[in-house]
Symmetry: C2
Subunit: 333 residues, 2 copies
């Protein structure tokens, strides 16, 4: 295992030191318990937006803390759900009297711990609502999940809901919007290689030198099928098919597309993939109004990508375009 780390057990804590050094104008890192919070939290009268989950998917979620997006992010150990305690403390730290939304990717540990945290925060007088994100169309149930997994579509939810909260939407409106974005986004991933979790020290799964796995999960959970490597245009078609037929997307739809790198795939390849996504959607009469290309929801150094397609409505477009200032996503992207 070759990684730029010190002691594997300090990876998350030391990374948070660097995050705070780099972005102290945007966020603060709270210690013991560890969470990341907007520098100006709590914002009085504004709904707090909290997300979190296992580390190793950076910039998700800490890179999305800031004006117009998340109020706080709670990082667990690598690929490990955060415990309830930091979630409770993050919830309290962002409570401005208007309630707090938890955005939870659908993994059993995350769901349970956010649920417990919500109950504990409610017991302290904070109104908490939760929305579960389950955008991955690859498989119905998975290693750490009952139902569908929550993956890169979470970025769209956090951006759009964060903008609404910034503009003064109340808790019920923010919950409805989060559910609506989740209901309109579909994602599918592919892995070319596994990644190595620092405290494990070995690859998260075995993949032969000439094979790829379609529908892989963010933690290397099994996907739909292993196939021989094919040209990326063919791979994109294989991924778009289940995405488009699931909602289903239809001619006339306006969409945002996220071509998301899993961490170890060059940007040049992601743009080649976007090219094919654009061709396919154009053929189907679907308009690509917005795009994001880059590493937004990663699996450490895994080579691969995911494609997310979000069906937009007028409100979502306006909120998508609203100002945002976070470490990983800035105004105008």
């Amino acid at each position: 295992m070759k990684k730029l780390i010190n002691d594997p057990k300090n990876v998350v804590a030391e990374s948070l030191d660097g995050l705070e050094l780099a972005h102290g104008d945007i966020l603060r890192v709270h210690r013991d318990p560890d969470f990341i919070v907007r520098a100006d939290a709590p914002v009085q009268g504004k709904v707090g937006i909290v997300s979190g989950g296992g580390s190793g998917h950076e910039p998700l979620h800490g890179g999305f803390v800031g004006y117009g997006m998340l109020s706080a992010a709670v990082p667990g150990a690598v690929f490990t759900s955060p415990t309830p305690d930091p979630i409770v403390e993050a919830t309290k730290a962002v409570d401005g009297g208007a309630g707090v939304l938890h955005i939870v990717k659908n993994y059993t540990g995350d769901v349970l711990n956010f649920e417990t945290a919500a109950e504990l925060a409610e017991a302290e007088g904070i109104t908490v609502k939760s929305v579960i994100i389950d955008d991955d169309v690859a498989v119905q149930d998975s290693t750490y999940t009952a139902g569908r997994r929550g993956v890169a579509g979470t970025v769209f939810v956090e951006k759009i809901v964060g903008a609404a909260a910034e503009q003064g939407a109340d808790l019920d409106a923010v919950v409805e919007l989060a559910q609506r974005v989740n209901a309109n986004v579909r994602t599918m991933g592919v892995a070319l290689t596994a990644c190595i979790v620092p405290h494990a020290g070995v690859p998260s799964f075995d993949l032969p030198e000439d094979e790829i796995e379609i529908g892989i999960g963010l933690h290397g959970e099994p996907g739909r099928e292993r196939i021989k490597l094919e040209p990326v245009d063919v791979i994109v078609d294989r991924m778009l098919d289940p995405i488009l037929s699931d909602l289903p997307f239809a001619s006339g739809d306006r969409v945002a597309v996220l071509v998301n790198g899993m961490g170890g795939t060059p940007l040049i390849e992601l743009y080649i993939a976007l090219r094919r996504v654009g061709q396919v959607l154009e053929e189907k009469g679907i308009s690509v109004l917005r795009t994001l290309v880059g590493n937004f929801t990663t699996s450490l150094e895994m080579q691969g990508m995911s494609i997310s397609v979000l069906r937009l409505d007028d409100e979502m477009i306006e909120l998508y375009d609203a100002p945002v200032q976070t470490a990983a996503l800035r105004w105008g992207r």
Copy 2:
């Protein structure tokens, strides 16, 4: 070789299709010859800023085309200098009557081809000046370079010089500023793994499973030494030593730091490295005023990073903070 590509010989052209689809509001891709140009080029009365070089280092340079940074970028084949022809055409496309600056990383092929292009453009009545970037302190001469190599410090040059041109600085002022930034920035890289150039199909060099190479070049050119993997804090110290002693940086200096991923290293590791950079500079009485952390000048999927330190003056700070709207670098970062 597992990559998300179609035919290796179409990698750059197809990637440019994706780039234009994603960022058509910011840039246009000119075809035959291929270059990337600001959507609003030429801007009358403004100095044009052109850079370029082999592809495979994305987002450099195309991701930095836009308001407040580059006027155009000329991508060669992967790890291959662009020929003079597209450089000439890009130069003409951005000429607004105030002259054009070429920002050239110090590789023999780049230097020669930009020189030829400058002569051809001058013959057509455009005033062209060139500044050679050579920020890499690792080695004096290298595989493709006489003198020091130009690496990630180029990002600082492009940002600061681009801002000055946007604010109306004339060609002489822009040249002086580019030289000043280059004279004040120092960079050093480290590789944990090699990368695979698509049309080559094999790793760019061999590196044993337990070794890293300090001082690696952007194309896998030899560095200073191969050592056994060490904790990242030790690696950072080894890299900062030659960086800081070279200028030399001194107590009281104000600096910007770029911790640049080579493409395949997780963000979480780059932040751990930044943490150590911050500790060392603080011990030495050097103030870190600005930071960039992420993949800015890559070597395809290489695992590793580079550290750049730029000594700032008041003018550079103001220009560093000036608005920018490009694919890879946006206002506020």
